[in-house]
Subunit: 247 residues, 2 copies
């Protein structure tokens, strides 16, 4: 186990002090949770909606809505506001516009505050917190992150991400604002995500990267199983991440 | 115990859902902690500094520095930056400018990240968290609040306050940004502080208010013992606040 020369970039890197996390898909099962909540709210109205299809259609409007903010066409709006705009569109597309009242729309939009974490997440974060500062670096707004943390027992040190930066990932400002809030250099912060594009953008902003596989995010076998580009670590779940980071 | 008419404003108020806290003085003993840290760092350099006097002099420059941001003369700068500017001034005023090196100044400035909480704070917050969302609404920056929380076991749901609002209390934007981050109306949020001016400003922004007495904040018998104006509650400590709020 010898090598003539240490790897120069690795040798120059400072230790990781904080981990920041993508949330939708990486930590929580948005698809199964939104399907469940949608059916629970719409079936009693006599609407035989397919929850999984509704969840996929709602989520499909996520990136285009944020792109309006990223491009400057829309001033910064919290994700709850974009979710509601998208919900109204999905209901219209499903021919349900006249059949879902305002109170139900409000309750359904808050389904994003009631997502369930993957089983490894709470125990993994508890171990990681012994050694690192932890925060979500999500496009979800602060109140949404707070509700998911309460529901799933996620021990955050702070809620960082889009609402602090007032812009959406993968814009570099969001990753850089998270590092700055912790008073750390970008290279002292590791972004943890199940999505290649998130990690590519975080690395370009100077952060370290860890890929967590969530192979069933978009349905059985329809999630990313390996990193799309170079990452510092690739793990099957947060318990394995804790193992790899000595936490 | 009857009354002809309910009190109209009180009857119109929604239930409190979140508590937000002033930190310096209200939750932590900045004076005793800064005195201890200052002596620990400067006495080994052969500087016979009186820690309590140094702490008072440093803190005396706090409001004037923030006023430069509030008035727009200085762009928003995190409190760590203002503390450092003030530290350099205090060292010069004490005739220590040539005798304290840069590394010691950096370490001394971080003394604000190592303040000790009053004894009722951690147990009081743990009780209150069973019933309310909790966050600091302090002029301290996020990393400072995170370090105080880790040191003292403060169970925050989020870190709100000046760095999120990019302005300093008692400007209304800081209180309003805290309520908005929790997705609550101002009247659903109660500001908890040991300082009358903070509570007057919070009430003017529409928040509920609780005064906590910290009679020794500025030295024995030199803290506020009663609210300077009308408040919703006045208590001797956070355990009494939990009692009063049924938490």
């Amino acid at each position: 186990m010898s090598s003539a020369l240490p790897d120069p970039p690795a040798a120059a890197l400072p230790p990781v002090r904080a981990l920041v996390f993508d949330v939708f898909g990486t930590l929580v099962d948005w698809r199964g949770s939104i399907a469940r909540e949608t059916e629970a709210l719409l079936h009693p109205l006599g609407l035989a909606v397919d929850g999984l299809r509704f969840a996929d259609d709602w989520r499909a409007r996520y990136q285009p809505a944020m792109q309006q903010v990223r491009s400057g066409r829309l001033p910064f709006s919290r994700l709850d506001v974009l979710h509601r705009m998208n919900l109204d569109q999905v209901l219209a597309a499903h021919g349900l516009d006249a059949r879902v009242d305002e109170a139900t729309r409000v309750a359904l939009n808050l389904a994003w505050h009631r997502l369930d974490a993957w089983p490894d997440v709470a125990p993994g974060l508890r171990r990681l917190r012994e050694r690192f500062l932890l925060a979500p670096c999500s496009n979800g707004n602060i109140s949404l992150m707070v509700d998911l943390a309460r529901r799933n027992g996620l021990p955050w040190d702070a809620i960082l991400g889009a609402e602090l930066a007032r812009d959406y990932k993968p814009k570099p400002a969001v990753y850089l604002a998270a590092a700055a809030a912790f008073d750390l250099a970008p290279a002292e912060v590791m972004m943890v995500a199940a999505h290649g594009d998130d990690l590519v953008a975080a690395a370009a902003a100077g952060l370290r990267t860890a890929f967590v596989a969530r192979p069933d995010e978009h349905g059985p076998g329809r999630g990313e199983t390996r990193p799309a580009g170079p990452v510092d670590l690739a793990v099957p779940d947060l318990l394995a991440l804790a193992d790899r980071l000595g936490a």
